[in-house]
Amino acid sequence: MRIKLITSRPAPASVRDLLSRMVRGRGPTEPVQRREIPYWQERGWNQSGNTYNGTYQTRYAAFWGEIIEHSATDIDFFLYQPSDEIRRCGHWACFQHRGSDWYLVHMGRRPKDVSSGMLAIERLITEAYES
Protein backbone atom coordinates (compact mmCIF):
# COMPACT_ATOMS: atom_id res chain seq x y z
CA MET A 1 0.00 0.00 0.00
CA ARG A 2 1.40 3.35 -0.93
CA ILE A 3 1.35 6.24 1.56
CA LYS A 4 0.83 9.76 0.52
CA LEU A 5 2.26 12.44 2.82
CA ILE A 6 -0.24 15.26 3.10
CA THR A 7 1.36 17.46 5.74
CA SER A 8 3.84 17.30 8.63
CA ARG A 9 4.35 19.12 11.89
CA PRO A 10 7.24 19.30 14.38
CA ALA A 11 7.21 16.97 17.38
CA PRO A 12 6.47 18.62 20.75
CA ALA A 13 9.47 20.26 22.43
CA SER A 14 9.42 17.73 25.26
CA VAL A 15 9.74 14.82 22.82
CA ARG A 16 12.50 16.55 20.84
CA ASP A 17 14.38 17.28 24.08
CA LEU A 18 14.09 13.66 25.19
CA LEU A 19 15.33 12.33 21.85
CA SER A 20 18.13 14.88 21.82
CA ARG A 21 19.30 13.74 25.26
CA MET A 22 19.23 10.10 24.17
CA VAL A 23 21.49 10.89 21.25
CA ARG A 24 23.87 13.23 23.05
CA GLY A 25 23.87 11.63 26.50
CA ARG A 26 23.93 13.66 29.71
CA GLY A 27 25.88 16.89 29.38
CA PRO A 28 28.63 17.99 31.76
CA THR A 29 27.42 19.16 35.16
CA GLU A 30 27.89 22.80 36.00
CA PRO A 31 28.83 23.48 39.62
CA VAL A 32 26.88 26.30 41.24
CA GLN A 33 28.87 28.45 43.60
CA ARG A 34 27.21 28.98 46.95
CA ARG A 35 27.14 32.46 48.38
CA GLU A 36 28.74 33.16 51.72
CA ILE A 37 26.92 36.25 52.88
CA PRO A 38 25.67 37.37 56.29
CA TYR A 39 22.16 36.34 57.24
CA TRP A 40 20.86 39.92 57.04
CA GLN A 41 22.00 40.13 53.46
CA GLU A 42 20.62 36.71 52.60
CA ARG A 43 17.24 37.92 53.86
CA GLY A 44 17.33 40.89 51.52
CA TRP A 45 18.04 43.65 54.03
CA ASN A 46 19.81 46.81 52.93
CA GLN A 47 22.59 48.57 54.79
CA SER A 48 23.23 52.29 54.79
CA GLY A 49 26.01 53.25 57.16
CA ASN A 50 25.19 51.74 60.53
CA THR A 51 21.49 51.31 59.70
CA TYR A 52 19.86 48.24 58.23
CA ASN A 53 16.38 48.09 56.72
CA GLY A 54 14.32 45.13 55.65
CA THR A 55 11.73 42.68 56.86
CA TYR A 56 11.77 40.12 59.62
CA GLN A 57 10.46 37.07 57.80
CA THR A 58 8.79 33.98 59.19
CA ARG A 59 6.49 31.36 57.75
CA TYR A 60 3.57 33.19 59.36
CA ALA A 61 4.19 36.86 58.71
CA ALA A 62 6.76 39.46 57.79
CA PHE A 63 7.29 42.79 59.53
CA TRP A 64 9.18 45.84 58.41
CA GLY A 65 12.23 46.41 60.57
CA GLU A 66 15.15 48.69 61.17
CA ILE A 67 18.38 47.92 62.96
CA ILE A 68 20.87 50.51 64.15
CA GLU A 69 24.34 49.25 64.98
CA HIS A 70 25.80 51.84 67.34
CA SER A 71 28.75 49.55 68.05
CA ALA A 72 29.53 45.84 67.92
CA THR A 73 27.92 45.37 71.32
CA ASP A 74 25.23 48.05 71.14
CA ILE A 75 22.62 47.24 68.51
CA ASP A 76 19.03 48.49 68.51
CA PHE A 77 16.31 46.42 66.84
CA PHE A 78 13.08 48.07 65.74
CA LEU A 79 9.90 46.51 64.43
CA TYR A 80 7.05 48.31 62.68
CA GLN A 81 3.39 47.68 63.38
CA PRO A 82 3.51 44.48 65.41
CA SER A 83 0.45 42.30 64.88
CA ASP A 84 -2.11 41.27 67.48
CA GLU A 85 -0.36 37.91 67.79
CA ILE A 86 2.84 39.66 68.87
CA ARG A 87 0.94 42.02 71.16
CA ARG A 88 -0.63 39.02 72.89
CA CYS A 89 2.61 37.06 73.36
CA GLY A 90 4.50 36.87 76.62
CA HIS A 91 7.28 39.13 75.34
CA TRP A 92 5.06 42.08 74.48
CA ALA A 93 6.40 43.95 77.51
CA CYS A 94 9.80 43.89 75.78
CA PHE A 95 8.48 46.14 73.00
CA GLN A 96 8.95 49.84 73.69
CA HIS A 97 6.84 52.22 71.62
CA ARG A 98 9.00 54.82 69.91
CA GLY A 99 6.31 56.66 67.98
CA SER A 100 4.63 56.22 64.59
CA ASP A 101 4.02 52.52 65.29
CA TRP A 102 7.73 51.75 65.56
CA TYR A 103 8.78 49.60 68.50
CA LEU A 104 12.22 49.04 70.00
CA VAL A 105 12.67 45.38 70.88
CA HIS A 106 14.50 45.04 74.16
CA MET A 107 17.14 42.32 74.19
CA GLY A 108 17.66 40.61 77.53
CA ARG A 109 20.70 38.87 76.11
CA ARG A 110 22.27 41.08 73.52
CA PRO A 111 23.49 39.52 70.28
CA LYS A 112 27.02 40.13 69.08
CA ASP A 113 25.99 40.81 65.53
CA VAL A 114 23.03 42.09 63.56
CA SER A 115 22.18 38.73 62.01
CA SER A 116 21.95 36.90 65.32
CA GLY A 117 19.54 39.54 66.62
CA MET A 118 17.41 39.24 63.51
CA LEU A 119 17.19 35.49 64.01
CA ALA A 120 16.14 36.02 67.63
CA ILE A 121 13.35 38.40 66.62
CA GLU A 122 12.16 36.15 63.81
CA ARG A 123 12.09 33.27 66.28
CA LEU A 124 10.03 35.40 68.69
CA ILE A 125 7.55 36.19 65.91
CA THR A 126 7.26 32.50 65.07
CA GLU A 127 6.66 31.64 68.72
CA ALA A 128 4.03 34.38 69.00
CA TYR A 129 2.07 32.80 66.15
CA GLU A 130 2.50 29.26 67.40
CA SER A 131 1.54 29.92 71.02
Partner: protein, 78 residues
Protein backbone atom coordinates in the same frame (compact mmCIF):
# COMPACT_ATOMS: atom_id res chain seq x y z
CA UNK B 1 27.60 9.90 58.48
CA UNK B 2 25.76 13.06 57.47
CA UNK B 3 27.19 16.16 55.93
CA UNK B 4 26.13 19.55 57.22
CA UNK B 5 26.84 23.09 56.19
CA UNK B 6 27.05 25.33 59.22
CA UNK B 7 26.44 28.96 58.28
CA UNK B 8 27.88 31.49 60.69
CA UNK B 9 25.01 33.99 60.61
CA UNK B 10 27.04 37.11 61.30
CA UNK B 11 29.56 36.62 58.52
CA UNK B 12 27.91 34.18 56.17
CA UNK B 13 30.96 31.93 56.35
CA UNK B 14 30.05 28.31 55.67
CA UNK B 15 31.79 25.48 57.52
CA UNK B 16 31.21 22.00 56.17
CA UNK B 17 31.20 19.20 58.72
CA UNK B 18 30.49 15.50 58.83
CA UNK B 19 28.71 14.11 61.85
CA UNK B 20 28.12 10.66 63.24
CA UNK B 21 25.07 9.44 65.17
CA UNK B 22 25.07 10.93 68.64
CA UNK B 23 26.94 14.09 67.71
CA UNK B 24 25.58 16.95 69.79
CA UNK B 25 25.20 20.63 68.99
CA UNK B 26 27.91 21.30 71.57
CA UNK B 27 30.28 18.89 69.79
CA UNK B 28 29.85 20.78 66.54
CA UNK B 29 30.29 24.21 68.12
CA UNK B 30 33.40 23.05 69.97
CA UNK B 31 34.86 21.51 66.84
CA UNK B 32 34.30 24.76 64.94
CA UNK B 33 35.55 26.87 67.85
CA UNK B 34 32.29 28.80 67.93
CA UNK B 35 32.13 29.80 71.56
CA UNK B 36 28.96 31.61 72.71
CA UNK B 37 27.08 30.47 69.61
CA UNK B 38 23.93 28.40 69.28
CA UNK B 39 22.81 26.17 66.43
CA UNK B 40 19.40 26.22 64.84
CA UNK B 41 17.82 25.11 61.60
CA UNK B 42 16.54 28.65 61.08
CA UNK B 43 14.17 31.25 62.51
CA UNK B 44 11.24 28.87 62.42
CA UNK B 45 12.93 26.33 64.63
CA UNK B 46 14.16 26.47 68.21
CA UNK B 47 17.81 26.49 69.18
CA UNK B 48 19.42 23.10 69.57
CA UNK B 49 20.57 22.55 73.14
CA UNK B 50 24.26 21.88 73.59
CA UNK B 51 23.68 18.34 74.79
CA UNK B 52 21.07 17.59 72.15
CA UNK B 53 21.88 15.07 69.43
CA UNK B 54 21.87 16.79 66.06
CA UNK B 55 22.11 13.71 63.87
CA UNK B 56 18.46 12.73 64.06
CA UNK B 57 17.23 16.27 63.54
CA UNK B 58 18.97 17.11 60.29
CA UNK B 59 19.05 15.68 56.82
CA UNK B 60 22.22 14.88 54.93
CA UNK B 61 23.47 18.01 53.18
CA UNK B 62 21.29 20.37 55.19
CA UNK B 63 22.25 23.92 56.08
CA UNK B 64 22.02 25.03 59.70
CA UNK B 65 22.78 28.36 61.34
CA UNK B 66 25.19 29.29 64.09
CA UNK B 67 24.25 32.56 65.74
CA UNK B 68 25.43 34.33 68.86
CA UNK B 69 23.24 33.97 71.90
CA UNK B 70 20.44 36.50 71.81
CA UNK B 71 17.10 36.59 73.52
CA UNK B 72 14.32 39.13 73.52
CA UNK B 73 13.83 40.66 76.94
CA UNK B 74 14.67 37.61 79.01
CA UNK B 75 15.56 39.37 82.24
CA UNK B 76 13.43 42.47 82.03
CA UNK B 77 10.26 41.09 80.55
CA UNK B 78 9.74 37.36 80.80
Amino acid sequence: MKRLSVVVAGTGQIRDVEIQPGTTAGDILNQLALKDYLLSKGPNDPFLAAAESVYDKVNDGEKIFASTKAEVGLRACA
